[in-house]
Every structure is written in C-alpha cells, then in structure tokens.
Symmetry: C2
Subunit: 205 residues, 2 copies
Amino acid sequence: MPMGKVPDIVVGRLPLYLRTLNYLIEEGHEVVSSQELGRRLGISPAQIRKDLSHFGEFGKQGAGYDVNYLRKQLTHILHVERVWPVALVGCGALGHALANYNGFLTKGFEITLIFDNDPAKIGQMVAGKVIHDVADMPRLLCEHGIRIAIVAVPSSAAQATVDILVKCRVRAILNYAPINISVPPGVQVQNIDPAVHLQRMTYYL
Amino acid sequence: MPMGKVPDIVVGRLPLYLRTLNYLIEEGHEVVSSQELGRRLGISPAQIRKDLSHFGEFGKQGAGYDVNYLRKQLTHILHVERVWPVALVGCGALGHALANYNGFLTKGFEITLIFDNDPAKIGQMVAGKVIHDVADMPRLLCEHGIRIAIVAVPSSAAQATVDILVKCRVRAILNYAPINISVPPGVQVQNIDPAVHLQRMTYYL
DNA sequence: CAGAGTATGTGACTGCTTTCACAAGGTGAC
DNA sequence: GTCACCTTGTGAAAGCAGTCACATACTCTG
Ligand SMILES: NC(=O)c1ccc[n+]([C@@H]2O[C@H](COP(=O)([O-])OP(=O)(O)OC[C@H]3O[C@@H](n4cnc5c(N)ncnc54)[C@H](O)[C@@H]3O)[C@@H](O)[C@H]2O)c1
Ligand SMILES: NC(=O)c1ccc[n+]([C@@H]2O[C@H](COP(=O)([O-])OP(=O)(O)OC[C@H]3O[C@@H](n4cnc5c(N)ncnc54)[C@H](O)[C@@H]3O)[C@@H](O)[C@H]2O)c1
C-alpha cells in the first residue's frame, strides 16, 4: 500500500492509463475492469493490476475500478492535479504548433512563457503570449518559478539552451531537437524525434 | 553473424545509434569506440556491443568501429538506404510544421502526399505540395505505393483515418493524435503525445 | 439469502534484458 | 619485433519485467 521505489517503466504507463480513463469518462462509463482497460491499450490486464498495485488498492473485487476515483488517484500520483506553467524555447514552425495546442491544459500543463532569439520574432504575439528574448530567460524563468520546459530550437542550439534551463532550476525538459542532450542527475529529459520513430518501423517493412 | 529474431527493444535503439553516427561524421571522426558512443547516448558500452552483435561483427578489436562503415550497415539494417515516400494526413498547425520539416529527407523519408478534409485547405500548396482531399486517399496511396503515413488529425478522426490507411496497404503509422488506435497484426504503430511525455516527468517533480 | 459469476491483488514463476568479465585480436611506441 | 595497452564479441550471471493462477471478496439474480 505505501509506495516504495516504483520502476520507471511502470511510471511511464500511468499517463496512458490516465488518458484512457478520460476517454472512458467522456463516454459515460462509471466503472472499468483491468480487462477492458487492457483491451483498449493493448496491455495485459495482469500488468495493469500489478502496475496500479504499486500505489494502492484502487479497485473493487467483482466490480472493477471506479473510473472517476482511479482518475483522481492517477492525477494525484502524477502530480497533475495542479496546472504546471511551462516554458517553450524556440518559436518556429513546431513551436507555433505547440504554443497553439489546446491539449495541454486538460493534462496539467500550460505554456506561459515563450522564448526565441530571432529579433524579428521577439515582441510578436503567439497564442495570446508575447515572444520573449532568450536573453531574458534566466530572469523570467526564476520569476515564474518554471520547472518544466519544452525545447524546440535547432539541434545546434539545443545543448546550450538546455544548459541555461538547468541553471535556472528547470527540472523537466521535453526535447524536440534530434540530438542527445546531457543534463546533470536529477533533471528529467524526454526526447521526441519523429525520424527515430519512423526508423523503428522501417526495420520491419 | 546471421540475424535471427532481434528483440524490439534492440531495434528501437538502432536509430539512436545511427543518429549519433551522423553527428560523429559531421564532426570529422573516422572511428568510434563503444565507450564513446555510450557516453554520448547515456547507454553502457556493453549494451551497444551486444546490440550490434545481433547483426554482425562491425568493429575492430583494439580500434573500435569505423564510423562510415557502421553507419552504412545500420542504414541498411533499418532499410533507410532508400527514401520512403510518406503520406501526411491532417494539415493543421502540426501538419504544417511536419510538412515543412527538413529533417526527414536525410533520415530516409519524404512527405510526398498531404491530405485534409477541410474544403478551405484542399488545393492549397504546403511545402511545395498540394493538399489533397481525403476522399482521394485510397486512389493516391495506391498509385504512389505508400507504406508509411503520419496521422495528424483530431483524436475523434484518428481511428477512422487509420482504418482507411490500413485498408490501402499502409504498414507503418506515426500517430500524433492523443488516443490509442488499434490496427491489425503486421501494421506498425508509433505514438507521439507530448502530454504523456510531460506527465512521465512530473511524477518525479 | 444462496450460489453462480466476476474481478481484484499478489506470490511464484517464466522469460527477457542488462551487466560482467575475459579471451582474442589489433595498435602504436620504441 | 616486442610489449604495454586498447577494444571487441560473447558466454555466464544477475537483475528486471511480465505472466500465471488463485485466494479473496464483491455483485446480481432469483
Ligand atoms: N518542424 C517539425 O515538424 C519538427 C519535427 C521534429 C523535430 N523538429 C525539431 O524541432 C526544432 C524546431 O523545429 P522547427 O521546424 O520549428 O524549426 P524552425 O527553424 O522553424 O524554428 C526554430 C526556432 O528556434 C529559434 N532559435 C534558434 N536558436 C535559438 C536559440 N539559441 N534560442 C532560442 N531560440 C532559438 C529560431 O529563431 C526559430 O524561431 C528543431 O530542432 C527541429 O529539428 C521539428
Ligand atoms: N499542435 C500540436 O503541437 C500538437 C501536439 C501534439 C499533438 N497534437 C495532435 O495532433 C493532431 C493535430 O493537431 P493540430 O494542432 O494540427 O490540430 P488542427 O486542428 O490544427 O489540425 C487538424 C487538421 O486535421 C484536419 N482534419 C480533421 N478531420 C480530418 C479527417 N477526417 N481527415 C483528414 N483531415 C482531417 C483538419 O481540417 C485540420 O486541418 C491532433 O490530434 C492533436 O491532438 C498536436
């Protein structure tokens, strides 16, 4: 019942469970079994039960899981009952799409600060926010207590950008630049590179 | 030396190795050790050697790996010595960014067909390509022999879109919609959802 | 309220993944 | 050529993750 060290791989599946629960609520379900959840996710029911059992006993035997209750629990476990302010660095094509993306807010995130180093862009408005000069990043990140950032700058600028973010106490970085960045221990990094995902699939073609 | 069944998890790392080799070539390196490669990727040298040993003996004892040779081998293993034509479905904010992204070509991919269902967008040019009506998708996918598609439509339209793609013999799908899609066996799917990646990190904050 | 049906939580087990450690082979200085 | 030093490829071992199967407990029908 009390949660010791939970494997990363288990933590990595929780957001998928949460996402599916939200769809179940939209569809009006009040209760869901590990079997149904597993069917939707392509995961075995046993694995879902074992994953959840790391954090507590959320289900009811003979019935399944109360969808709203489980959603609340996962939201709490993942620390997304609050909305995290997020900084976006690099407001090019991808940055624009991310800034205008309305899928973040309901998942616990809001892009509140946008940065670029292009003088032609600085000062412009995007998604209701002004684009700030990267030179002001240290001050603004501090003032807003930002802990999470999204990096959408060219690869060549990614490591330098990350170094600044880390120095400003950012502790979680979502990196879209197709390059491996290095960070000190205690800083989380997740990488998104569509070419890598595509190449994973062409192996099997 | 001959490659039997290679674990998925190993295949998943090969694109990262390949990406790093490309940077090494840019930097003028001719040879790299598993240690250096591991350092850059945050992976143990032993794991890199074992992964590569599934496919052959590419290194030289006492020296390391010839960067160009290893790159060529991985390019071959992943089937990206050719350039794959890719269809993009959904040309909104994200679709625009992807269509204009110039990082695909050097990795073995080119977006050659773009589809949308918005009459206002159909016929417009994006990144030098015309946006086609989704109604023409079956015919055009067939004519172009498309095997790979990127899905960037709203969640509500994702499963229906995927069903059409699968029926048109697409065998690899990169899905940006934040929903679990189901496909018959033999069809590869990779999902990209930034909110999921962010929630994986907030657990640790 | 009894009994058939259903679903969880979990220890034991199986299988997969990573690390270890070393023989074999290559390098470079002198 | 020799010797000290590297680095690979790989079995063996260790460590992790996923599945199985069942005791337990809830539901629902009649
Ligand atoms: N466009 C895509 O669909 C896509 C897909 C996958 C990955 N990416 C990656 O995402 C990143 C951004 O892609 P994009 O297409 O938006 O490129 P882009 O060139 O349109 O945008 C990059 C932006 O970053 C800004 N920038 C450059 N250096 C900076 C710095 N030091 N500090 C702050 N801002 C800086 C530029 O002014 C520009 O506005 C790149 O690394 C790219 O490889 C893009
Ligand atoms: N914008 C982002 O940064 C971002 C980030 C992550 C995920 N996503 C996801 O990517 C998808 C697209 O996001 P977006 O921001 O580009 O949205 P968008 O609304 O700007 O674009 C969606 C496009 O899909 C088209 N479309 C709708 N139904 C279609 C159908 N049946 N067939 C073909 N085209 C259809 C629309 O006409 C529109 O052009 C969404 O699922 C979104 O959740 C977007």
